[in-house]
């Protein structure tokens, strides 16, 4: 995925670039509105991350100009101003989503992915009915799961959890994100429900379970 990051604060841009790069995405960073407009004209991006407070052309103007050019690239606004008025103004100008600073990195990733998925109309995911990874196969239509040919019996939550890992192989999944995706909860849970379920899933899929590694203080990742 190609991402254009428009952010005048270098230290913010730095960790965002590193974080998104770790997800396997390529990030172009520009510090001002004019450069952003030039870059957006010269390249094709899947998502644009746009800071609102910029030197020169303001973020809202950049957004307006991009939309005036009939650009349909999803825009996610990042700003330290989180009053509802600011949010409404941003969304009315043509932004697709709005994330106030500071944000948890997980949320940024989830939103970027959501924007990307929405822009591509969920088309690619629907095609793959059977996912194979190592000795693990997951048939999404029949919900049959097998490890090395042996059928494994999983509960619904365990199936959803495994599907999440399989579709995000190599990526860090925080507990919050897992909770959100599987249990539809948004808030910090103060609970170990994720750890309990991940432990169960590891046991059930046997040797493949070792591929789910725990990242201390972050969450899990399926290699």
């Amino acid at each position: 995925m190609n991402i254009l990051l428009v952010e005048d604060e270098v230290r913010v841009a730095d960790f965002i670039r590193r974080g998104l790069g770790a997800e396997g995405w390529s990030v172009d960073h520009v510090a001002g509105g004019e450069e952003a407009l030039e870059q957006a004209k010269a390249n094709v991006y899947d998502v644009i991350l746009l800071d609102l407070m910029l030197p020169g052309i303001q973020g809202l103007d950049v957004c307006r100009k991009l939309r005036a050019r009939k650009s349909k690239t999803p825009i996610l606004m990042l700003t330290a101003l989180d009053s509802p008025e600011e949010k409404v103004k941003g969304l009315k100008t043509g932004a697709d989503d709005y994330l106030p600073k500071p944000f948890e990195f997980d949320e940024l990733i989830a939103r970027v992915e959501a924007l990307h998925r929405r822009a591509n109309c969920y088309a690619k995911e629907a095609d793959d009915t059977v996912i194979t990874s190592g000795t693990l196969t997951f048939d999404k239509s029949s919900l049959q799961i097998a490890v090395a040919g042996q059928t494994v019996d999983l509960s619904k939550k365990e199936r959803d959890l495994l599907l999440l890992f399989l579709t995000n192989q190599g990526r860090v999944l925080s507990r919050e994100r897992i909770l959100n995706a599987v249990w539809s909860m948004n808030e910090d849970p103060l609970t170990n429900v994720v750890d309990v379920y991940v432990g169960r899933l590891r046991r059930k899929i046997g040797c493949e379970g070792e591929r789910i590694v725990t990242l201390r203080n972050v969450g899990y990742r399926m290699t």
Binding site: V12, F15, F103, L215
Partner: protein, 527 residues
Amino acid sequence: MRSTTLFGMYAAVIVGLVGSLGGLTLYSLEKSRAWDVRAQLAQESYGLHLQLEGNLYRLFKKYGDVLLIGEQEDGAAVLDLQDAIAGNLSGIRDVIAREIQLVGEEEIEELILLDQIEADVRAINVEIDRLIRSQDPVATMIDDDRLITLFNGDIDIALDRKIEAALAEERSEVDETLDEARAFRLRNTRLVYAILLVGITVLIVGLMSFNAQIRRPIIRLQQGLENLRGANYSGAVYLGGSREFRQLGGVLNSMADALAAREASRAEQKRYLEDTVAKRTAELQQAVDKLELTEENRKQLMADISHELRTPLAIILGEADVTLRTSADLSDGVSDSFARIRDAAKHTNQIVDDMLTVARFEAGKLRLDRSETDLRLVVHDAVSMFPEPVQVDMPDRRSMALIDPVRLRQAVLALLHNAHRYGGPDIAITVSETASSQIIRVEDNGPGLSKAEKSQAFERFFRGSNASGRGVEGTGLGLPVVKSIVEAHDGTVVLEDRDGGGLRVVMTLPKKQRVHVVAGKASRKSA
């Protein structure tokens, strides 16, 4: 001069002129009537003289016949003629008497002439009588000459002359009268012309005078009033004309002066008022500008706080987060340290958010995105986002309210977190309604708060005795945020002691419409 005097004068002159004309006419009528009478008398006198002459001629003829032929049988005819002559004479005398009555003494000579004629006639009668009685032819013959003389001389000629004289006298009288009448007419005509001339002169003078005394003052008065109406008080008006107009002009001028003075004082007042208003407006504008500046500064401060705190927090949080995610070879100690940095940044951010919520509410800027929402749904969402078990007691029926569901859920969740952090493990939430309000209660079985603590609990960064030493981490802004949100909804939030220990927080939202309350079943949610 008064206009009454003026009009009186004109009236007197006109009455005089008309009167003189009338008098003249009456005088002329009288005069011509007198002339008529006189001419008539003259005519009558003339006629009588002619009759007298005729009668005398016939008498003398009779006498002649008697004397020459001696005829006596016609004595009666002579007597008749004598009577007629006497009648004629007395008629003439009567006419003369009337003339004298008419014109005065100037007819006396006529009377004298008549007396002579009468005397002559009487003398002739006497002479002839004597002749007739004598009967003596010689004597008669002798007397013939005398008779002829008498007839030719005395009677015929002298009497004729006298009668002619009388006739001439009458004719001259008529001529005189005619002359007099002609002269009178001439004088009369001149007089009428003179009167007409005077009348026209008086009319012209009168018109001019009316123009100067009445019409011009009225026009000037009209102009003066026109000026007054147009609020032009500059030029004093001189009306002129008669005394009343001059007085009216004086009144008008003093009125104009008074009006001008009043106008001037009003203009002065108006200017003063305008100045005052302008001054006050400027002061108000200054105050408004100052307020706006203050408000602008406050908003800017909020924005600055947001930006200046959030950006470094974003960097701290982001750096810690990304480092944890991307570095596989961190030692446990370093990893934990990064995690603590990340969690502290999140916590600080929560404090900033809560402070801004409270500050916005206190500035009246807490924006609510209200919609008609079922309170049970709000409570359900909050409970589902809360990890600990909560006993929920809600009505079976919907409990609709015009609220901001996100903000209200935030408040409910904050209360649940508070109950968990500072209270006991038995947390209960109930939704109920009264006729005028909707009530959400959150209870715990913890140590509760003392009366003094309850009164302080809504102050920022207050931490009760129940929080000390338990290692619980809150922002110290939970209740202030709840209070801000509930009061922004025009509701109230109070702290009460729960029966059997613990704390109960009661949020009351005023209700717009009436909904019946049905007590619901208790249900227990577990995670």
